[in-house]
Amino acid sequence: MVEKLGAVAPAPEPEPERPAGNRALRKLRRSPAALFGGLLVTFFVVVAVLAPVLPIPGPAETDWGAVRKAPSMAHWFGTDEIGRDVLSRMIWGAQASLLAGVVSVVIAVLLGVPLGVLAGYARGWTDAVISRFTEALLATPFLILAIALAAFLGPSLTNAMIAIGLSAMPIFIRLARAQTMSVLTEDYVESAHAVGVGHLALVWRYVLPNIFPPILVQATLTIATAIIAEASLSFLGLGQQPPAPSWGSMLNIAKNFLEQAPWMALWPGMAIFLVVLGFNLLGDGLRDALDPRDT
């Protein structure tokens, strides 16, 4: 009977491939907020990438004759405390801020997710050890931890990124652990056991792909936090070091010239705000788009 059904089945038409992300992408594209967020992020990324080819003065080019000059045709965003073009420094600073955001989150994800998956998968004492470790890290205030680490490693952008990455790691351990545990209770994991799927394959094919969406959302939102954290560290003098610009270090300087040169504080603050807003909007949009409950 079934053979017969198979035998006379109509020649199947090749269906166009539709990856799972498609639906999420479509939903994302329908959300104006997420689109705006994506646009903001893209704008800053493009600007940062194009920095070397844009017709702007070098970020370290000084003009002793134009110290702390208000925005003008020559210097659209004004000049800074030693006569550098603020627009140029903003554009080059975008590199530092975005890099700091992305790299530190990559560090946090690469360290945190395996640990979290391990804890959630292995349970028992492995979980206990990792969980206590995570709790202890979480209980140490983020900024203090980052300050201490940045101070330990020496003030530089790279070290700030490491410090922020390490500080953000527990978020991902927790999330990955919780998500892993929740995935493991899913029927399809039991189904994998029934079929005889091994541990590694289970983690690789079942756990990781299924915890990916919440991790992605969290990563996007953490990039936003990390950018602020980098700015905070730079603001305390522990991030990007001069003469290389970053928005946080520009603010660090600018706070000394609030009255004489408010534009020096205005632009970097605005830029941080906008790019962080962009990531937050994007993260929110992603969360909504990837939420399976809301189809």
Partner: protein, 366 residues
């Protein structure tokens, strides 16, 4: 081991221990207790009972998705708890499981092809091309298109997903298929399609089916034998027609009597059982059913009835079974006019013809 028995349990029990409080002992639920069961090669055995009776746990213990806390499961004479390595892998190949919820039991991140091909891959059966061919064959067999292999589970309806689950279970060439409420999440019309497929496949592959269900109509339709469970224990085990016609355990009688029948003015469902299921962490002493049993006597509260004569065709665990005359379900006749009967026949014929003309009983969505 008895000839013809493929799966057998002896004194099987499975307990779940809750988190231990700081003071006092942890709560323990005996989800399955003292189950002795033989499953015969080629039969369809149904395990029936209400929620919390332990039937799903029993199903999982049977295929080693859960380890028993006491007792043994023998598959073809071998204790499955003692299997390792190649033997365990072959057990996994031969004992397969179908899940209740077709929405949550398929990994949403894998294509249908990958899902169905996974058991083959895991067990190293065939190369990639052979696996692809096998997946295509399985898909058509459960009434889906070969092109569906590239799609993801969420693109399918519930019935279609259950077919995917069945194809996946069949991929490794199992001998025993355990279905945990395989059709209860489906609408009636879709349920019928899946029931038909399961029956066809069973016949074609010579499978042994163990179906967990609470829907007595489906069980009546599919099963050869039925085991009725109450609070973790099998209280009655009998061939299906015998069980429905002549239940010998009061609980079975109550279950059957509770079924609302689709007949207007027919028998009204009875309310033979008062009260709720007792707290499973503190089950009644003696016969676990005695607190709700309309026929209970003093002895029932003290003495645990044994499932008498494990080799008989109709087994029952009740002290009073011989004294009671219990009511079963007699034939159910819908009072339809001849025109109506003819209409039903016409429908049957037209539906069959239509299935034949398209080559498919089921057309895919959209």
């Amino acid at each position: 081991m008895t000839e013809g028995v493929i799966l057998e349990t002896r004194g099987l029990g499975r307990a779940f221990t809750g988190r231990k409080p700081l003071l006092g002992p942890a709560t323990v639920v005996q989800a399955v207790k003292d189950v002795d069961l033989e499953v015969r090669r080629g039969e369809t055995l149904a395990i029936v009972g209400e929620s919390g009776c332990g039937k799903s746990t029993l199903a999982r213990v049977l295929v080693r998705l859960l380890a028993p806390t006491v007792g043994t499961v023998f598959y073809e004479g071998r204790d499955i708890a003692k299997l390792g390595g190649a033997e365990l892998r072959s057990l996994r190949r031969e004992l397969q499981f179908i899940f209740q919820d077709p929405f949550s039991s398929l990994n949403p991140r894998m294509t249908v092809g990958a899902l169905i091909g996974e058991p083959l891959k895991v067990h190293g059966l065939g190369n990639a091309a052979a696996r692809r061919a096998k997946v295509a064959r399985l898909l058509t067999r459960v009434g889906l298109r070969t092109g569906d292999a590239a799609r993801y589970p969420h693109e399918f309806s519930g019935g279609q997903r259950q077919r995917i689950g069945i194809a996946r279970a069949l991929a490794s060439g199992p001998k025993v298929l355990v279905g945990d409420e395989p059709v209860s999440a489906l609408d009636v019309s879709i349920q019928a399609q899946v029931v038909n497929i399961l029956q066809d496949l069973k016949a074609e592959f010579g499978l042994t089916l163990i179906i967990i269900a609470h829907d007595l109509a489906v069980i009546r339709h599919m099963a050869d034998r039925v085991a009725v469970m109450y609070l973790g224990q099998v209280v009655e085990l009998a061939p299906v027609a015998d069980l429905f016609a002549n239940p010998r355990h009061p609980y079975t009688e109550a279950l059957i009597a509770s079924i609302p029948l689709p007949v207007v003015g027919g028998r009204r469902a009875q309310v033979p059982l008062a009260g709720d299921l007792p707290d499973p962490t503190d089950p009644p002493k003696g016969c676990r059913f005695h607190t709700r049993c309309p026929y209970a006597i003093g002895r029932c509260a003290r003495q645990v009835p044994k499932l008498a004569d494990p080799w008989a065709t109709h087994q029952v665990a009740c002290h009073r079974t011989d004294e009671l005359a219990l009511t079963g379900l007699t034939t159910v006749a819908v009072g339809r006019s001849p025109e109506a009967v003819a209409r039903f026949e016409m429908y049957r014929a037209a539906a069959a013809e239509r299935a034949g003309s398209t080559g498919l009983e089921i057309s895919t969505e959209e």
